[in-house]
Amino acid sequence: MNTEALAQLANVGVASATVVLALAWLTHLVEWAAAREVRPARLDSDASLVSAGGHSAGGSSPATGVAAEGETSPSPSRPDRFGQAGLSLTVLGTALLAAGVLARALAAGRVPWGNMYEFAVTGALVVLVVYLGLVLRAGIQWLAPIVTGFAVVVLGLAILVYVPAGPLVPALDSYWLVLHVSAAAIAGGAFVVGAGTSALFLLKQRAEQRAGAPVTTGPLGRLPTTEQMDRLAFQVHAFAFPLWTFAALIAGPIWAQNAWGRYWGWDPKEVWAFITWVVYAGYLHARATAGWRGRGAAVLALVGFATFLFNFVGINLFVSGLHSYAF
């Protein structure tokens, strides 16, 4: 297959993945809407099994899998059916996106992260892969609306910065690029999951404080307990933070030294990578600081994610710097 055909295939893959993921997002939104409709008084036995099982399990698994419940009960509730369908669509969309990214890499003859478009597309893929991995490991299907929504928005915005496949500019031609970017991308994928978890944690915690009791119904009732979400958020960030340290403070400076003649030069991109690092370091501190645990830490996780996003979007578009060609 020649380069043009591959490049074509890549675009088809990304476009169809965007459509499928948009459907997945919609399906998950319907799932939440359906959960909202299920009123406690009208709960059929299956639905009550699910919501009860989701919370009485306490410590059996970090997030009781809605899917697993669906498998065991003879006829899954309406929200669960939508959840299953959404998950299947997400898997399909991720596979299409992976094929698109792979074709793009083959068409360009290099790693698929040489410009902002490729960063956005590959970044969306990494987020989805991290999410699906954690669905398998920790049953985080309840994060689906946020993750699929994020991926769809990123893929949609990526069209705005589309460039056809082509070779790398010389500054990017280094194996430190591979290390620096892949570590940053995986950390970023985990930051998305961490931020989504922290946001839902805050929502549920507020609802429970208002109600004065654990929320077990409606969309928020489909989430794990606040404790489990808090712990998951920490685990995800504990995974992402060392990777981010490596990407931003080790691999990045080594590459910068080779390409630009200094390890660290307070380029806007470097400044914001540093700010992100400092805020997430603050998050880890906050978890061990009385008065900051829970809510304060979750807010810091969201702030950290905001700085990360701003670094990718804002700095690329509004501030000129050495990184201006891409991420």
């Binding site: 410590g59 056809p164 082509g166 400092v278 603050g282 880890l284 009385a290 829970g294």
Partner: protein, 544 residues
């Protein structure tokens, strides 16, 4: 200071909403009296909170430096910013916003952070040193109050029984699970996960090392930029640099006296496809003489492949064009001849430059204009460049005559013209005369001012010459820091107790409890697993 939750993992203690939790009693060394414990806890809390606030302040303080151009990063951008914001700039100057990262207030924040860091590391190291020698804490009297608790009986018929046998086996099992184990009469106490705090301390000590390394590099290091045109050379002395920044303790006389001469500068660009005009290859070749009197050796610098000479690195950070221009004055005398570097302004290498001819008669001449590597007529009729390589080079100049202002004593940039006492040279139609020259062209200036010849195009390399002593130290520090970080995030301290007492009839009642010092997903199933192993008492003949 750290990511670990030093409070016991009694999950039930948290209110349902998980909202603001009162300070948990920190688990300190068990020998402290309540008063000492309180002071210790207070210090712990204040320093943690201070560190957290300082981190957030540091993050916020770093922001302005990314939005306003920085003197040490891009001084040209700062100059442009000053021109476009004449009212704001004096205030930004007062606040040091043009050099945030060396400003007193930024330094103050990170110095405070370093103090807080050290003030935190020292007491915690002492505490940890004591904890390292300490034995597992004594067995609580009511094990059933702990979050993970199980009890079972061993019957008389299960071979070797008796409390001592059970405890002996429990100690072996716990040791195999890497617990530190003490056997008391009637109970076994065990603890593991000491490496968590070690990792924590390693991480924070490494950060101090990183900061020290960065300080050394910036105090003794230097960095300079120089434009070298093909066919010319550079010797590493202060006066040759276009831009030079050095640490407070680096001196100009300590520069290694190497010289290099640039033979060719190659800048290749994509000529076709979607990314036409994108750079493909930058390469500078020539010879370098490490020290006076030594034999020159050839060099080849590319982006990502710097030249190393005498502990200094030479990087290729940019390229551009230097039209070779000869100016004759009204008397026909050659008053200026040679390459004039024009600075690229965009990715198609439209370049701006200035030529000053102070020796011209009857009046000094100044020229300002553009170099277009591949000139074409733009949509509005003005010349533009459509490709960065010099395939159809053109030089577009406005000429000024009068006083260049070089004798005022005020230093001037070679890239800008002081037009206070200059008049633009006008053509026949009384509008500013634009010279458009191709290589080989000569333009005669009106009013007998002379002529300008565009001889040919040369290329220049923008080299960055940098020395950062001990640059490996911060990097090594960070690598160690990540190691420590991983320990502090993933090692999870746990305490375990097993108590066995005879219950008559040869039966033995065994109680097992676990206490996590950091919240874990599921201590209960871990406990089940442990109990299963404990119940499997070695029989006679078993190799336990």
């Amino acid at each position: 200071m750290s990511a670990d939750t030093t409070a016991p993992a009694t999950r039930g203690a948290a209110p349902p909403g998980g909202g603001r939790i009162e300070p948990d009693a920190p688990v300190g060394p068990p020998t402290l009296s309540p008063g000492e414990l309180g002071r210790w806890a207070w210090r712990q809390l204040t320093s943690m909170r201070t560190a957290l606030l300082l981190l957030l302040v540091l993050a916020m303080a770093a922001v302005p430096g990314s939005l306003v151009p920085q003197e040490g990063v891009d001084s040209l951008a700062v100059a442009r910013f000053r021109l476009t914001h004449p009212d704001l700039s004096p205030w930004l100057d007062r606040l040091g916003v043009f050099s945030v990262y060396s400003s007193p207030w930024f330094s103050a924040i990170y110095l405070l952070l370093v103090v807080s860091l050290i003030g935190c590391i020292i007491p915690r190291t002492q505490v940890y040193a004591r904890a390292l020698g300490a034995r597992p804490p004594r067995t609580p009297s009511r094990l059933d109050r702990l979050p993970a608790y199980a009890t079972y009986e061993v019957g008389a018929d299960s071979g070797r029984t008796g409390a001592d046998a059970v405890l002996e086996h429990a100690a072996a099992v716990l040791r195999r699970r890497r617990f530190r184990v003490d056997v008391d009469p009637g109970a076994v106490r065990a603890e593991k996960g000491y490496l968590r705090e070690a990792g924590n301390l390693i991480f924070h000590v490494s950060l101090v090392v990183v900061l020290v390394g960065v300080a050394i590099g910036s105090l003794w290091g230097y960095r300079g930029n120089v434009i070298v045109v093909e066919g010319s050379g550079f010797s590493n002395t202060l006066t040759q640099y276009d831009e030079f920044t050095s640490g407070a303790l680096a001196t100009g006389s300590s520069l290694p006296p190497f010289t290099l001469s640039l033979q060719t500068l190659t800048a290749d660009f994509q000529t076709d496809g979607a990314q036409a005009g994108q750079p493909k290859l930058f390469e500078a070749t020539g010879t370098v003489t490490p020290a006076p009197g030594q034999i020159p050796r050839p060099f080849d610098i590319e982006v990502n492949h710097p030249l190393s000479v005498e502990g200094t690195s030479v990087f290729l950070v940019g390229s551009g064009y230097a039209p070779v221009v000869t100016v004759r004055d009204g008397d026909g005398q050659v008053v200026s001849s040679g390459p004039v570097p024009f600075l690229p302004t965009d990715s198609s290498y439209v370049s701006e430059g200035v030529l000053k001819v102070p020796d011209a008669e009857p009046a000094q001449l100044g020229m300002e204009g553009f170099f277009l590597p591949t000139a074409a007529r733009g949509p509005d009729g003005l010349p533009v460049s459509v490709f960065p390589e010099a395939t159809n080079p053109a030089l577009s100049l406005f000429v000024y005559s009068g006083d260049l202002g070089l004798d005022d004593g005020e230093p001037q940039s070679v890239y800008s013209l002081d037009k206070d006492d200059l008049d633009v040279v006008q053509g026949d139609d009384q509008s500013p005369e634009r010279l458009l020259l191709r290589p080989g062209d000569t333009a005669r200036l009106p009013d007998g001012l002379g002529s300008v010849t565009f001889d040919k195009v040369a290329e220049f390399a923008r080299l960055q010459i940098a020395s950062a002593p001990l640059a490996w130290l911060p990097l090594a520090g960070l690598v160690v820091a990540i190691g420590g970080l991983l320990l502090s995030l993933y090692v999870r301290p746990r305490r375990a107790w097993v108590r066995a007492r005879p219950a008559g009839d040869g039966r033995t009642v065994v109680e097992v409890a676990l206490l996590d010092r950091v919240a874990r997903a599921d201590p209960v199933s871990d406990l089940d697993e442990l109990v299963a192993e404990l119940r499997h008492l070695p029989q006679k003949g078993d190799l336990a």
